[in-house]
């Protein structure tokens, strides 16, 4: 069993009173492998959050199937197993913390699962260490920064020992520093603990280090490939109102302006600098290397 999440022709629609049924997901086929870091991109209303809610049985498919570790999410008896296997972190860090003390909040999930007290204690300490918030275990959540609160929310999920964590725009309400904290935390969880990560976002920069980028548009999978491959298709992304990382955009525009010899699919600032300075060197401007 190498796929943690599998969807087969997943459809979801809801009835709106004026316009009849509205289709949000229109036949999604997606496999997410164990240990993979998948970024799901899509503009507002593309159905990416709806898709995420299917991964832990918060929503059930109107058509097709969604399997989590081989369990059908529509199986009512398996619901809590599914939610324990796929944990979910939401956008607003304030609205998902339940308790007045950090460690008690982290304990909330395992408490619901009926884990014995000593075991909960152990898990809570481990989870808080994994997100680097152990020193704050006795603090009140409302005194922490947004990034810290979001890390507590992640710890609350880790304490349930999930195989996979789905994060639904976890950085949308954070400042740049909080975003950086959260993104590096989830990368560490993926690399060190082997937890599968599904990161739903509309910040392109957060997706460049993912193993795979899935672009959702209008309830369908538009692209599903490595970041480099996805972001080399600038025109296709623009067509669905998605942007590309800044470095990619700069190279793309230079190419459009007729500059020859630039590779496609440049992702990070460092790559961009290197590509440009190489280009300048080839064209005979040796002084153009960055000074330090």
């Amino acid at each position: 069993m190498t796929n943690i999440i599998e969807t087969k022709d997943l459809r979801f629609e809801y009835a709106s009173e004026e316009e009849g049924p509205r289709v949000v997901l229109d036949g999604i086929d997606l496999d997410i492998r164990k240990g993979e870091f998948v970024a799901v991109l899509g503009h507002n209303g593309s159905g990416k959050s709806t898709l995420a809610k299917h991964f832990n049985a918060m929503l059930l498919p109107s058509g097709g199937k969604c399997y989590v570790a081989g369990m059908d999410t529509a199986d009512e008896e398996k619901r809590f197993d599914v939610r324990q296997t796929v944990g979910m972190v939401l956008q607003n860090p304030d609205n998902q913390l339940v308790a007045t003390i950090v460690e008690e909040d982290v304990a909330f999930g395992p408490e619901n699962m009926g884990v014995p007290p000593e075991e909960i204690r152990k898990r809570v300490d481990e989870a808080l260490k994994a997100v680097g918030m152990y020193e704050y275990r006795r603090h009140a959540p409302h005194k922490l920064s947004g990034g810290q609160k979001q890390r507590i929310a992640i710890a609350g999920i880790i304490a349930m020992r999930p195989a996979c964590i789905v994060l639904d725009e976890p950085t949308a309400m954070l400042d740049p520093r909080g975003r950086e904290e959260v993104i590096s935390t989830i990368h560490r969880l993926c690399d060190e603990m082997g937890i599968t990560i599904v990161l739903i976002t509309h910040y392109m920069d957060e997706t460049v280090d993912a193993d795979r980028v899935v672009v959702i548009d209008d309830g369908r999978v538009l692209l599903s490939a490595a970041p480099r491959e996805v972001f080399s298709q600038v025109d296709r992304l623009k067509a669905v109102e998605l942007d590309v990382p800044q470095a990619t955009r700069l190279i793309y525009r230079l190419q459009k302006a007729g500059v020859k010899g630039l590779p496609a699919g440049v992702l990070t600032d460092d790559e961009c600098i290197e590509v440009l300075s190489n280009l300048l060197e080839v064209n005979g401007c040796p002084s153009s290397k960055p000074r330090n």
Binding site: N56, M58, F80, R83, Q84, G87, M88, L90, N92, D94, N95, Q96, L97, V98, A99, T100, I101, E103, E104, A107, F108, G109, P110, E111, N112, M113, G114, V115, P116, P117, I120, R121, V124, A140, P141, H142, K143, A153, G156, I157, M160
Partner: protein, 271 residues
């Protein structure tokens, strides 16, 4: 400033009283209030007062702080005292002016009731000064858990308390933001008569309400994601444990209670 707000009146310190199990403290406070109202002469009240002074000294809560907790109920005390003065008739008439007649028994009762109320309030303040709201909720939930047999939603109630405590600072912060936002749009919250000021609150309360509902919706989703399904089959990380000091506290209180019952049987009542 608004982030540092504390609720209730928890006074953090390291003391024997703070370290007592919240359940012990809850039971003892109830017992204490009962014994204050059983005692029917001044010796009983003296014993109760001595007990309270001992407990306060052990708790390291400054006496000034303790006394301050009676301030909100001074009016109630004064009101009861005046009613007692005016309406209790006795044998010796001390003072007469028109329809006002004050008897010796009235004076005694007034003083006695006032002391009773003050002692009861001080006793419960000691509980809230030495127990954090979280511990208090925990203690209450566990003490009440036998009532689950009667289908009382004990767990739900405790969870509601916890969530309320968790969200009070968040909502205060939000109110502050909304007020600033409305002021920036020219809202006048500080001048005008009562009606005008109440009306000025509407544009603050409505967004606050709307956002509270949104938060509640989010919170419910987050709780479901974390496998919340009511109190059934739920375990707790924190185990409350009684220690030797709890036994001591029970023992001492039992002695005082015995003393007060004995004194109220043996000595003549005040009224």
């Amino acid at each position: 400033m608004i982030r540092d707000i504390t609720f209730g009146q928890f006074f953090p310190a390291k003391s024997v009283v703070h370290a007592l199990d919240p359940r012990t403290k809850l039971i003892l406070v109830v017992a204490y209030i009962v014994l204050v109202f059983i005692g029917n002469n001044f010796l009983c009240l003296g014993l109760a007062a001595a007990f309270l002074i001992l407990a306060t000294a052990l708790s390291k809560v400054p006496p000034k702080l303790m006394l301050r907790s009676t301030r909100p109920i001074l009016f109630v005390i004064a009101f009861t005292a005046i009613l007692n003065l005016l309406y209790i008739k006795g044998d010796v008439l001390l003072f007469e002016w028109g329809f006002v007649q004050i008897y010796d028994k009235g004076v005694f009762t007034a003083v006695f009731m006032a002391i009773r109320i003050i002692l009861a309030v001080l006793g419960s303040s000691l509980l809230t000064y030495t127990t954090s709201p979280t511990d208090l909720t925990d203690g209450l939930e566990r003490l009440m858990s036998p009532l689950k047999v009667l289908h009382l939603p004990v767990h739900e109630f405790a969870l509601m308390m916890t969530i309320a405590l968790r969200f009070i600072p968040t909502l205060i912060e939000e109110t502050d933001k909304i007020m600033s936002a409305q002021k920036a749009r020219g809202a006048d919250l500080e001048t005008g008569g009562l009606v005008k000021r109440v009306k000025a609150l509407v544009p603050i309360l409505i967004p606050l309400f709307v956002s509270s509902f949104r938060r509640a919706f989010d919170l419910a989703t987050a709780m479901e994601c974390r496998c919340y399904h009511g109190g059934e089959g739920r375990t707790r990380m924190k185990k409350l444990q009684m220690h030797g000091r709890d036994a001591w506290a029970f023992g001492i209180t039992a002695l005082v209670l015995g003393g007060i019952i004995a004194a109220s049987i043996l000595l003549p009542p005040v009224f």
